[in-house]
């Protein structure tokens, strides 16, 4: 779950020595929302479980995931960490074992690429038609839970994110083109952020 969120944070990856400016520019987008589809591959099932929802990103308040399923909690990630907000109002913080992943997320969120580079090696592949793929591969000495993070997109937007623990245990997320907003409404702030 934590690592899935990490993928969404890729939307706000800032400029880095190894990330081209055109990709890093995606991080400077203002408040936005996008539809997503998430395919969860697990060794337990013959076919992946697919869920859908809407992601909202606000540079000041963090990001929020609202799933389409009934009774699914809103997932909020911000500078204070991870929070699950259940439909009945209960709020659940991340357990301590998620600390390592949260630190990576926070590093992404705070544009702290030196911290990210402690856990992952980066590799960028660009094609002539402006498509690109940025792969983060876990370093052997890292205790991060996901082996590989793969982002792919175009100049305009991020298209897909793959988060893999093993080849059979992975999540693939496909994003629609983002809708840029002037600002989120106060109701949206209350419901989707903290």
């Amino acid at each position: 779950m934590i690592a899935r969120l990490l993928l969404f944070l890729a939307l706000v990856i800032p400029a880095s020595a190894t990330v081209p400016t055109r990709i890093a520019a995606l991080a400077d987008l203002g408040p936005l929302s996008a539809e997503f589809s998430e395919a969860r591959h697990t060794p337990l099932k013959k076919r992946p479980v697919v869920v859908t929802g809407i992601v909202r990103i606000d540079r000041a308040r963090g990001l929020s995931l609202a799933y389409d399923q009934d009774r699914a909690p809103v997932v909020i990630l911000d500078a204070e960490g991870l929070l699950l907000r259940h439909p009945d109002g209960r709020e659940q913080s991340a357990p301590p074992e998620a600390e390592e992943d949260l630190r990576v997320l926070h590093a992404l969120f705070a544009f702290d690429f030196p911290t990210l580079e402690k856990s992952y090696d980066q590799k960028l592949i660009e094609s002539p038609d402006d498509a690109w793929t940025l792969t983060f591969t876990r370093r052997p000495d890292s205790s991060a839970s996901y082996r590989k993070l793969i982002l792919s997109g175009t100049t305009d937007h991020l298209i897909s994110i793959i988060l893999a623990k093993t080849p059979k245990l992975r999540t693939e997320i496909t994003l629609s083109a983002p809708r840029l907003l002037p600002a989120f409404s106060p109701e949206d702030h209350t419901r989707y952020f903290r």
Binding site: L44, V49, Q69, E99
Partner: protein, 786 residues
């Protein structure tokens, strides 16, 4: 012929003094022998909870007291603050080194770095291993008439839903062995059982912190639970600084507060005694000429204290140290008899004749004080009860010791100074009578007005030495450990696990679904569910469950082979005989790691579980009707309510004491003079209370005790004032020296001691003014002058 009378006279003197001396020596020898045989650790206590009765009938107070004496009191919370650029692994190593040093010390029973999650993982491992014994009965109880097929269908449906939830990513590794979601569901129910650190940054700016939970071996209120603990913490700090040299360490626990209070109280007792002695000497130097003779007042005071300590320790197996602190007031009372006996001395009057002349005021003063403090022995509160015995015995010993001691030195003369400006003409004309009556009624009105405005404040913390820095540190550390005041705590009891768990289930069922309770009991099956799950009939049904589960999984597009770990464990569970319920729960709770072990208690006196619930601001805890076996713990507030009850009982006893005072005064002096004699201390006390109230001071138990003492002292002065001759020099010396010593108590940092000092000082000074002005017309001119 010349020698014979001298020898005879010496023999006669020896014969005369032999008996009093012999009595005093035997008394000292017996008391000393008893006191030397005592073990101070066993007989004296500084534990504030022992101020409340061990057999308190209020269940909440009884449980609160037992909790204070339980393992909870031995917890030490520690934060290691490292520079911000410290890596997580370096900080974890330092925390591990710190914890290992503590564990190696005999002063600590346990020490766990929270960030290492060792104990959380240990709990997870324990629950996973015993998930079918502990969690499966509760899961099974959801289905009223289970068949293998219906159970399998329900399990697969729930598993499918879980895989589509955001929580699935965190449980992916667990599901092959737990497709019934026993552990994920439990984790949600019991997520707040052990609060996790809320932040990794410390209160020190730009530093990162590691938190360590530790438990000491010894009671923090004892010496073994303090200095060895601090030494181990210092050693652990040194070890951890080998990894991070700039490491800062904060810790908190009852031991810190107890040690600080002990040191501060020790310093304060020394300071107060020094200033009190200086004050008494100053007053004495102003009022008498032979200061050296004052030393003769010491033996009766010491004998009174010796008798009081001896009898109190004979009567009570454990005596709180505050009894002796408050009992120091005994000196102020006992010294009065000496003052009066010495300052009323007349030339050429035998000691026996002097005693006959002073018998009435001495017996009157001592008798009323004795009656007042004897009534306190009826109190349920150990402090008040013990104080009543201590002062009552002390007064008796003090009076007896004074009479016996001065029989040995009948000619001692303190040589009082004459203070002409204080002399009052006692022959009143009608104008003066009217003026005094006006003053009397004005004071009466002031008292009545002030007493109607009294507010009460009953707080056990008034007895503590204030330690604001420790409090701030404690609050910061507890917040970092996730503790807060936004929840209500319940304690559910039973004779054994079966009864306690049944009572807890009733509590859980009575709480609203939107605000459930959290408890370690949620990890344990209910007795009925366990019995149902382990019955032969259920076991026979479950034998077909693995096959039904595989079929349902296959039909729902699952990979059946993925559940091999679950099927192997479940088959083994069915093949083994189920453990006895009490044994299972006892073994499980005994193995609970880290702080979780504090949430359940299993001993010969029964079993209890602690539960918490988020406080509902619209429903005060006091209005909720709790099921049988459960009580709400409101912490110090609950004990304060109890303290209020004791204060009210002490006030009632004090009122009876006032009635006794009036009765004794009337019996000794007749109704007219008796009522005037009794009116002096009562008006002094009510006027003092009114003045303190108008000054804005809320009243508590210690004002009440101060008032009782003040009334006893003022009553002594009234009886002395009603004696024949000018007794004012003795009263003046006694009152001013008492006021000087109690005024020093007003500077105490302990609110209770300060309150006591203020009340006594004010009453004594008012009583002195009443005597000096003869407001109650008590003065009896000497017979030879009339």
């Amino acid at each position: 012929m010349i020698r014979a009378p001298s020898v005879l006279s010496v023999l006669s003197v020896v014969k005369k003094i032999r008996l009093p001396l012999l009595v005093l020596l035997v008394f000292v020898a017996l008391c000393a022998a008893w006191l030397l045989s005592l073990d101070p650790r066993k007989h004296f206590t500084t534990d504030i909870t022992e101020l409340l009765p061990a057999a308190e009938r209020d269940p909440e107070a009884r449980l609160a007291l037992s909790l204070v004496r339980e393992r909870q009191a031995r917890v030490v919370l520690i934060a290691l603050d490292a520079p911000a650029n410290t890596s997580a692994s370096t900080l974890a190593s330092a925390a591990q080194a710190f914890a290992e040093t503590l564990r190696a010390s005999p002063a600590f029973a346990a020490a766990e770095p929270l960030a290492s999650q060792t104990w959380q993982h240990a709990l997870g491992q324990q629950l996973h291993t015993h998930r079918f014994d502990l969690l499966f009965p509760t899961w099974l109880a959801q289905f009223p008439n289970p068949t293998p097929e219906s159970l399998a269908a329900s399990a697969i449906t729930a598993l499918d839903a879980h895989l589509a939830s955001p929580a699935a990513a965190a449980t992916a590794d667990l599901l092959p062995s737990d497709p019934l979601l026993l552990l994920p569901n439990l984790a949600e129910r019991a997520s707040s059982l052990a609060p996790f650190p809320s932040a990794s940054t410390s209160t020190l700016n730009s530093r990162v912190s590691a938190l360590i939970w530790a438990e000491t071996t010894a009671d923090p209120l004892t010496e073994d639970g303090q200095q060895p603990v601090f030494a181990a913490l210092a050693a652990a700090t040194s070890n951890a600084r080998q990894t991070i040299p700039d490491l800062a360490v904060r810790d908190t626990g009852i031991a810190r507060f107890a040690a600080a209070a002990k040191a501060s109280t020790k310093n304060e007792i020394g300071r107060l005694n020094l200033f009190a002695l200086f004050g008494v000497l100053l007053v004495s130097a102003l009022l008498i000429r032979r200061l050296r003779s004052l030393l003769h007042l010491l033996p009766p005071i010491l004998l009174a204290t010796l008798g009081a300590v001896t009898v109190t320790t004979l009567v009570f197996p454990r005596v709180h140290i505050l009894v002796f602190v408050l009992g120091s007031l005994l000196s102020g009372v006992a010294v009065d008899y000496g003052f009066h006996l010495l300052l009323a001395r007349r030339e050429n009057e035998s000691y026996r004749a002097r005693l006959r002349r002073l018998a009435l005021p001495l017996i009157g003063g001592a008798g009323t004080t004795l009656a007042g403090f004897l009534l306190l022995t009826l109190s349920e509160l150990p402090l008040v009860h013990q104080l009543g015995v201590y002062v009552a015995v002390g007064i008796t010993c003090g009076l007896a010791a004074t009479l016996l001691y001065f029989a040995l030195f009948p000619s001692i003369d303190l040589a009082p100074r004459r203070l002409p400006h204080l002399n009052v003409n006692f022959n009143l004309n009608s104008t003066r009578r009217r003026f005094r009556a006006g003053i009397f009624f004005a004071l009466l009105a002031l008292s009545a007005f002030g007493l109607t405005r009294i507010t009460w404040q009953d707080d056990l913390r008034l007895l503590e030495y204030p330690a604001p820095e420790l409090r701030i540190n404690d609050a910061a550390l507890r917040a970092a450990f996730g503790e807060n005041n936004a929840s209500t705590t319940f304690l559910t009891r039973g004779a054994n696990f079966t009864e306690a768990r049944t009572h807890w289930q009733n509590l859980a069922n009575s709480t609203p679904a939107e605000n459930p309770i959290t408890s370690i009991a949620a990890l344990l099956p209910a007795p009925a569910d366990y019995a149902a799950a382990t019955s032969p009939q259920t076991r026979a049904t479950l034998a077909a469950f693995p096959a039904a589960f595989l079929a349902a999984a296959e039909a729902a597009d699952f990979e059946p082979d993925a559940f091999a770990p679950f099927l192997a464990d479940f088959t083994a569970y069915l093949a083994a005989s189920p453990p006895d319920y009490e044994t299972l729960l006892r073994q499980t709770t005994l193995a609970l790691p880290g702080p979780l072990g504090l949430l359940v208690h299993d001993a010969s006196d029964g079993v209890w579980f602690l539960s918490t619930q988020a406080r509902n601001p619209t429903t005060p805890a006091a209005t909720v009707v709790l099921p049988e076996g459960t009580v709400s713990l409101s912490g110090i507030q609950g004990l304060n309510t109890l303290f209020s009850r004791y204060r009210a009982a002490a006030a009632q006893l004090s009122l009876f004491g006032c009635v006794a005072l009036i009765v004794i005064a009337c019996a000794l002096h007749g109704p007219r003079l008796g009522l005037r004699t009794a009116a002096l201390p009562l008006l002094a006390a009510t006027t003092a209370a009114a003045l303190l109230t108008l000054h804005g001071e809320p009243f508590g138990l210690f004002h009440l005790l101060g008032a009782l003492l003040g009334v006893c002292l003022a009553d002594d002065y009234a009886h002395f004032a009603a004696a024949e001759g000018d007794t004012r020099p003795a009263i003046r010396l006694s009152a001013l020296s008492t006021a000087a010593s109690f005024a020093v108590l007003m500077t105490s940092a302990i609110p209770a001691v300060s309150a006591l000092g203020a009340t006594v000082t004010l009453i004594v000074l008012l009583a002195l003014v009443f005597v000096e002005t003869d407001l109650f017309s008590l003065h009896q001119p000497p017979r030879d002058q009339s």
